[in-house]
């Protein structure tokens, strides 16, 4: 009966939806969201594009400069280093959490039940609910010259390599990367653990009977089965790395030198400290494009077969 009703009413709806009023009502539902989006996202994107062609201190008269700001952003060594830093962060933000997450998920496959599992889940999610700024402060303290990291290193006889990690020219960027890895580790692990629980256990049993090694299982069952979840982890973490700001701002301020300066921080500095709005905007446009260019192939690769 429901089916018949549904069929009849669909025709009613279709014929009605031709009516002008219905169309207006439909747009009225969409309009408020679109108005906010247009005002505070689309228009600013357009303004970013426009500013990026100017030489402007934000107050006085602007000068049209064509694409010269982009030339600076894409050729000057400081900017190349800053963009390079963002990509180096991807290595830490993405590879560490995804690799550890995969390892953990494979090891504890289906063992996350009960109260213990629930506790673990809660604890591992805590970094996701605190402000990144707080994570930055916590880790500044962890990595300080007399922080826990150095304490632990001294304890295992590596006292000679202790240092203020975030102030060290060579180790500051990896240290910042480590903070990001810590923030994202729990989320990736839980996504992958949840995903692996959905893989048919019979596949693993069958593999065992066929004498498959643990590596075979991982390579031929776990990895393909988690394709979509891995895609999600990689997407989220790559965006977090390329668009990082909060952690760097708090933990290092971009230093020492430009060692940990990332595009987000440089945009902020150029626009609001150095009053170089045009240059800041060109870097902003490059950053927006960079994120899209990096994320699209990941999405394409991991969602394909679904």
């Amino acid at each position: 009966m429901a089916l018949v009703d549904g069929h009849r009413s669909r025709q009613v709806r279709i014929s009605a939806s031709v009516g002008k009023r219905t169309v207006l009502v439909a747009w009225a539902f969409i309009a408020p969201a679109f108005a906010f989006y247009a005002t505070f996202v689309l228009v600013p994107i357009g303004m970013s594009l426009y500013y990026s062609l100017l030489r402007w201190d934000g107050i006085g008269k602007a000068q049209f400069k064509g694409l010269s700001n982009y030339l600076v952003v894409l050729s000057e060594s400081d900017f190349l280093q800053i963009l390079g830093n963002a990509f180096q962060l991807v290595v830490y933000f993405t590879i560490i959490p995804v690799a550890i997450g995969l390892g953990v998920a494979s090891a504890i496959r289906n063992h996350l039940g009960g109260r213990f599992g629930a506790t673990a889940r809660t604890v591992l999610f805590i970094p996701q609910v605190i402000p990144l700024v707080a994570a930055g402060i916590a880790w500044s303290w962890m990595l300080a010259s007399n922080g826990v990291v150095n304490q632990a290193l001294s304890l295992i006889g590596l006292g000679s390599i202790t240092r203020g990690w975030l102030g060290d020219f060579d180790f500051a960027l990896p240290a910042v990367g480590l903070i990001g890895a810590w923030v994202l580790l729990g989320l990736c692990t839980m996504l992958l653990v949840t995903g692996i629980a959905r893989i048919d256990p019979n596949l693993y049993e069958a593999a065992k009977i066929d004498g498959a090694t643990a590596w075979d299982e991982f390579r031929w069952i776990t990895l393909p089965g988690l394709r979509q979840e891995i895609g999600v982890c990689v997407t989220v973490t790559v965006i977090a790395a390329l668009a990082s700001f909060d952690i760097v701002y708090i933990a290092t301020g971009g230093g020492p030198g430009l060692q940990t300066t990332v595009p987000g921080l440089e945009i902020y500095r150029l626009a609001f400290a150095h009053r170089q709005v045009g240059l800041a905007s060109a870097l902003a446009v490059v950053l927006m494009l960079l994120v899209i260019v990096c994320v699209l192939p990941i999405q394409w690769l991991t969602r394909q077969s679904k």
């Binding site: 996202v41 228009v43 609910v129 707080a134 996504l191």
Partner: protein, 284 residues
């Protein structure tokens, strides 16, 4: 669902596996909690000293938490953050839900293009538009007010809100709405009486995520609002670090207080939070 599978399987798995799993998880939990533990131990050291990373102080200075609370004006910050969250989340969730419904169910001609425009914004880094946002908000005359954070955030949340709610409504069988429309219910009534009640779990997840994002938002507050006390908690923490950065015990106490509200809420509503964060990541 996952939990049930886990429990069922455990009965036939070797205890050795379970033990390994627990050891690994305990290790992960230690790594996750260590930063908080060390902040806590530092927060109890005498104010102004430079304590070792991890050591239970001989004479725990609980007073530091009181001092930090006062130094950072936490009461005002809590109020300010709450006002901002209350300004953003209800409106953002409402208009996002309406648009998701409009695009999925009413689907006027051209709405696909609009939807694609929304989706385009899903990966937008806020830094990409923060500069023009500053000048725009200044033109509107709301720079340095809470509205400077509230209004742009609503706009910035629209891609995810619309994407999220559309994904929900697309999966609601058409018959649901049609049963109502045959009774002569208008689209507006159908939305409130039929669709919103069914969408409650999706709406709750969306509200939780947006509350978290707003509460923890850092970039917008530090750029658009000069006075730290008018910002979100996270935004004010930046200023607090600038002021007290050299006083480790006080800084750690302050940071812990600022972390506390979301962690407490998270522990109370952990089931909804975890579900929201997991789904949010998958769909985002």
């Amino acid at each position: 669902m996952t939990e049930a599978t886990g429990d069922r399987d455990r009965s036939r798995v070797l205890p050795v596996g379970a033990l390994t799993a627990r050891t690994i998880l305990v290790g992960l939990m230690v790594v996750t909690l260590m930063p908080f533990v060390t902040m806590f131990s530092a927060a109890l050291a005498p104010s102004g000293t430079y304590p070792p990373g991890l050591q239970w102080p001989a004479n725990p200075q609980w007073q530091n938490f009181v001092d930090a609370f006062e130094a950072a004006h936490m009461d005002q910050l809590l109020l300010s953050s709450t006002i901002i969250a209350l300004g953003v989340v209800p409106i953002s969730v409402l208009i996002g839900t309406m648009a998701g419904f409009g695009i999925a169910k009413l689907a006027p001609k051209g709405s696909t293009v609009v939807y694609l425009l929304f989706v385009l914004g899903l990966t937008l880094p806020f830094e990409g538009i923060i500069t023009p946002l500053y000048y725009e908000v200044k033109t509107f005359g709301i720079l340095n007010t809470k509205l400077a954070i509230i209004l742009p955030l609503i706009g910035l949340y629209m891609p995810f809100s619309v994407y999220w709610m559309r994904a929900h409504f697309v999966n609601v069988p058409d018959e649901m709405g049609e049963a109502a429309s045959i009774d002569g219910a208008s689209a507006w009534q159908q939305f409130w009486l039929v669709q919103v009640p069914i969408a409650r779990p999706a709406i709750l997840s969306l509200a939780i995520l947006q509350f978290l994002w707003t509460w923890n938002q850092f970039l917008l507050p530090i750029v658009l609002v000069e006075v730290p006390l008018e910002r979100t908690m996270a935004g004010a923490l930046g200023a607090f670090q600038g002021q007290w950065g050299t006083n480790i015990p006080l800084l750690c106490a302050g940071a812990l207080i600022i972390i506390a509200p979301t962690v407490v809420l998270f522990v109370i509503f952990q089931k909804q939070f975890v579900a929201a964060l997991l789904q949010g990541a998958v769909k985002g």
